[in-house]
Symmetry: C2
DNA sequence: AATTGGCACTCAGCAGAGTCGAGTGCCAGT
DNA sequence: ACTGGCACTCGACTCTGCTGAGTGCCAATT
């Protein structure tokens, strides 16, 4: 068991270590923080914290450094997040205002978050698995090419080009469009994909019309599949290089995860949010994702789908400030997209 | 003046240094390369190379290391590039085959190039400044939203959504579409943008139809502007971390340039290609771009527009092999897109 | 029971000294 | 033009001793 003052000491250690990157000793603590006790007392508390594996010594008789578990306890006991300054808040709204479509909103969000935190920022697209297809459009281009456009009610647009082998007339096109539209519009992405798959087997390749349909349906299926895959935007990758000192081993796996995206997507979606929609994953807790030296802070901006904005950085980061930034940004984007939806 | 054997020695130094990352001395050279002379003779040659500033000593009396100028001479005297193995060639075609649209081709290209070279790979989109708009489509969505789609003859598609304030009928839409189409189709991106700008001033905001047109034209103008901006795809960023040892200072500016893209775009487009369409920029030659410790190899895949594929890495890299890879990949993509165009 | 001052002990980090060896530069000889 | 020989340089490594920050523990105090 850790005493109340023990937690205070832990907090002091985390704060000082995050600030200075130096292992912190009992003497420094009494100097910098107004505990009303002597260094020896702090030492006793520290011994307890060490028993609980909340702090550890890099080498015998040097200061102590928070362990992953220590950061965890620290974060869990963050009673209140320091709210952002008004300057920061206005910065966020300036960043976000004037955004046109969904892509734009999220691109601005991720930039805002990275400037605010100085870390790598991540923004998840709203999940489209439950999105409904609201519109289908086929556009004939010259040279027998066709553009197949899908739009969801959540505002995501996908367009893909295909090269058709068979010629077609204008009314072939409208009939085909109506046929595809009947299959997918109003349906969720998942249902739409099933419907398309079902139609596929029923095609009679002898019929010219079905031959055309098969090519288009294939593309539609691909696009629906793409919708089902979640998507990320990121920014501030270069910050990893600045914080390189904070990673014992190479930042290679981190850069790789960032480029891969798949790992980060899984990580982000598996995190468990608290009542406020915030979630934190620290160091070794990310081991399964090959990110044992990194922490991820995330905040839901869409409570229904758990779509999130987040921040990725070394375990040694300013959790209080960054969590506040994540929370505020998530809040802004959430409201922005909500208003957007309402106006639709 | 550097003697013929002097160049051989330079080549040996570059090769050994690239391989081992150790400054190379006269003794190592005679051991590893079959010059028919003694170490003392090599030393004399090396003294000359040093006078010419092609090699330099990290500290007095240690081996020599190629300077940027040395790499430059080395590259300029690369008489023949080692052609890729058949295994590598088939790897390239496997990577590229089955690509559907332009985005897909370039995405695959960049992946191929990064696996081949183990460096950061860069692919420029074909320049769209001279591209011609081939198709315009307006799609009405629910809630007064409209999707504005542009397609160029080079196969690039842009789609953007806008929220209209005014209602409209189906035939408003077709009339508007025809109006916009008349302005831009068949015109180059640049001309189209001018035409749109011209039309803009002529609008009478009192008329309902023109009110609608103004909203759409604004979006079209944005899209055309986006077309005019060149674009890059990249892959293999994580490789920078692996090669970090090769950069004296931080890799931060590199990661930043990669995220910015603008710098790289300028760099890539300012490079001067040789008769084969290859271009190399080494170390300090990139100083203006903040990449004084990096080299860029590029190869045109579209001689007309100088659209390029390229590789970015530390000055200490295997120029011969990587140049060969760049050349081959550029060649493949060039042919692929050409065939594509012809079939259109 | 909690706190404190005192004290012995540990150990990273630093500086100085010594050694080693790879490598150069130069010169006289072939 | 090339070569062997030789003195010289200097980074890298090792060893040594020192210092100081910091711990851990204990007996004394409140």
């Amino acid at each position: 068991m850790v005493s109340e003052r023990g937690l205070q000491v832990l907090r002091a250690i985390v704060q000082d270590y995050v600030e200075t990157r130096e292992p912190v000793g009992s003497k420094t603590i009494v100097e910098r923080h107004a505990f009303g006790v002597s260094a020896a007392t702090i030492r006793n508390d520290m011994a307890q914290l060490e028993d609980e594996e909340l702090i550890a010594a890099p080498h015998t008789s040097s200061g102590r450094v928070p362990t992953d578990k220590g950061y965890r306890v620290f974060v869990d006991h963050l009673s209140q997040l320091r709210p952002l300054s008004t300057a920061q808040r206005t910065a966020i709204s300036t960043f976000l205002e004037g955004a046109t479509d969904l892509d734009d909103v999220l691109a601005r969000t991720v930039r805002a978050l990275t400037t605010l935190t100085g870390q790598v920022a991540i923004v998840q697209y709203p999940s489209f698995a439950q999105a409904h297809v609201s519109h289908v459009e086929l556009v004939a281009l010259e040279g027998g090419r066709m553009l197949v456009i899908l739009v969801t009610d959540t505002g995501r647009v996908s367009q893909r080009m295909t090269q058709l082998r068979t010629g077609f007339e204008a009314d072939d096109l409208t009939r085909l469009r109506d046929r595809v539209a009947a299959l997918v519009t109003g349906r969720s992405v998942r249902q739409g994909a099933q419907a398309v798959a079902g139609e596929f087997v029923a095609l009679d390749v002898e019929r010219h019309e079905d031959l055309l349909a098969s090519a288009v349906l294939r593309v539609v299926a691909e696009e629906l599949e793409e919708f089902r895959q979640d998507k990320l935007v990121m920014a501030g990758t270069a910050n990893l290089a600045r914080r390189e000192q904070d990673f014992r081993s190479s930042i290679y796996p981190l850069l790789e995860a960032i480029e891969e995206q798949v790992t980060l997507l899984r990580l982000m979606s598996e995190m468990v949010a608290d009542a406020e929609g915030l979630s934190v994953s620290i160091g070794r807790e990310n081991e399964a994702f090959g990110l044992a030296e990194a922490s991820v802070l995330a905040g839901d901006y869409d409570p229904a789908t758990h779509a999130r904005v987040g921040v990725l950085g070394p375990t040694r980061m300013d959790y209080a400030t960054n969590l506040a930034a994540v929370r505020t940004v998530a809040h802004y984007v959430g409201r922005l997209l909500e208003d957007d939806e309402r106006s639709r």
